[in-house]
Symmetry: C2
Subunit: 353 residues, 2 copies
């Protein structure tokens, strides 16, 4: 019966996105890196791609213009723009976001990281729904309490995204746990809402997708895996690191240090990014003052691709699953192979157990 | 092909334990709590139960005697004792362990937490294999590097157990990550060895079992779930907490504090236990000195079951999945329902995607 219920939620998630094939694979809205080429490639392969936030809030307009062109040149046909758009609420601009959504009518918006909790998400949701009635609102949470707050709010989301502690980029700074536990506990807590729940955090290949579906996910969001896609908007030095690095348990950590070195201040304390450890962190731990690290960082930034790597100094946001990423592939190949692998795994298990 | 390979490893794991039904569910060797009643009940239900270490190393002898009686009264028939025995290597006694294994010939031993790494595991493995040729050696690791060291050692284990950061009781103090990532990265790294790998950490119900199998696990070990079994050797106050508690991401943490309050010192620094947060921790964080906490703890211990709970002070080791444990059931019911649920989930998914 529980299995039937999750099948219903999978159907509910899929209905507004008819081009998306089973299983429902989402390209997460990684800031800067998930640009128009990646988002549209994921959707064109039968997934759902999201644009990430740009360097400045109004960058979304150029990205949406470009995405619209790419969609027109693809086989994707849908009344709405068949990609989603992600916003970091705390440093987003609701006016720009609203006018962008009104103009381009993306099929979904993905909201994350409010400074003032659900109240701020309510404002955003109301404004964005006002701008485009059929655009679905996805809310990303990383805790049980935030999930419950979202589904019981004045403006419950159409889709809830639950991010486990494995995730790269920004997530909960503390009090988080792995997807294998966080996801089912949240799913149980919000099941009365009838809102489909998407799993994020640590999902890299078909094994992770099959696992997340087993946990009851209606869909699965992948970020780190798409950093190593041909279409990612990412420096080669960074991308090489994603492919090279292994053992994310040992070689990544959550810290604001790299944000600050990049000049990004003001993230709400609840959140922090996971990054690969390199010289900036090692020196910081050894007591080198921030001002000195900043100088070294800025020099490294001028060195281009050499600025990344174990001896480099530049921010390399990745999830703990980075060790499972072993080559750069086209995003469409990733979507298809992950989908096929997940199906093969589930079929083989069903036959065997 | 990868799916075939994992099916072979599932068969390889199962061969020496012919009474164990698919999927291969293991009762983890929780110290004290996994006594003879629990271990034998898990095996009798078609799983594989392990005795946990006892208060003192020679406690294993009484537990094995008792287990032998229980097995004789059950329908279990096997040339070896059809339960396993767990040892904490750092504070175990190899001489006692060896003579216990020689006398009782358990089907498996599970080794964890050496003070001196793989070298110490080699000594234990050699001695225990010498005592009982057909007893299989299981080694539990929590890091990629320890997994690689184990399979490349002089005495590779028969089975490798990989424990994710969600786990309760003792695990890696640092540099760990969730099962959804740690397991597949380890499995890939050791695949040439042909050693089957069992997943542990965050597996509470059929969803977790199906997820772990999807990740490629040959079997799944559960601890926290069995704390809430009729057969667990656990105080009622503790067990009530396991059922009551939710949101393990928020309400548990890793700390040596509770070990020290119980008078257990000397754990190798690599390891720490995960426990529910209660007054001992809150007061510790507020700066109450250890000596004062000790007095309060010892008073609480005299109060019996009231010593546990959010306002209690006693150690309550659990995994982050504690919120998924909602009732006390017989261990056999747990094994069977988890097995059935996992099968139903996988079948429904295969039909649907």
């Amino acid at each position: 019966m529980a299995a039937q219920r999750t099948a219903e939620l999978r159907r509910l998630l899929a209905r507004p996105y008819p081009w998306v094939k089973k299983s429902f694979i989402v390209g997460a809205p990684m800031r800067i890196m998930a640009g128009p080429n990646l988002a549209v490639a994921v959707s064109a392969a039968g997934g759902l791609g999201f644009l990430g936030p740009q360097v400045k809030p109004d960058g979304v307009l150029a990205d949406l213009d470009k995405a619209r062109e790419l969609v027109a040149a693809s086989s994707l046909r849908h009344p709405l723009l068949p990609i989603g758009v992600g916003f970091q609420v705390w440093n987003g601009d609701l006016k720009i976001a609203t006018s962008a959504v009104e103009k381009h009518k993306p099929c979904a918006v993905w909201l994350f990281a409010p400074r003032n909790g659900q109240k701020e998400l309510d404002e955003w949701t109301t404004s964005l729904r006002g701008a485009s009635r059929d655009t679905q609102v996805w809310i990303q949470v990383g805790t049980l309490s935030d999930a419950i707050a979202a589904v019981n709010s004045l403006t419950p989301p159409d889709v809830l995204v639950v991010q486990g502690s494995e995730a790269g980029g920004h997530g909960m700074a503390k009090q988080s746990t792995g997807t294998i536990v966080l996801f089912p506990e949240v799913a149980d807590a919000v099941k009365e809402s009838g809102i489909p729940v998407v799993a994020a955090g640590g999902i890299i290949d078909g094994r992770g997708v099959a696992a997340a579906l087993s946990l009851g996910a209606a869909g699965v969001a992948m970020g780190t895996r798409f950093l190593a896609s041909s279409e990612a908007r990412i420096a080669k030095g960074y991308q090489d690191e994603v492919v090279r690095a292994s053992d994310g348990a040992k070689n990544t950590l959550r810290t604001q240090l790299y944000n600050h070195l990049r000049g990004t201040f003001g993230w709400p304390e609840l959140f922090s990014p996971r990054t690969l450890i390199n010289r900036s962190w090692i020196d910081h731990e050894a007591g080198v003052p921030f001002e000195k690290l900043q100088v070294l960082h800025d020099e490294a930034a001028k060195s281009g691709d050499a600025g990344w790597g174990p001896e480099g100094r530049l921010a390399t946001y990745v999830g703990t699953g980075v060790g499972l990423v072993r080559s750069v592939q086209d995003a469409g190949v990733i979507v298809e192979s992950v989908r096929n692998e997940a199906r093969d795994i589930l079929k083989a298990l069903t036959d065997d157990i």
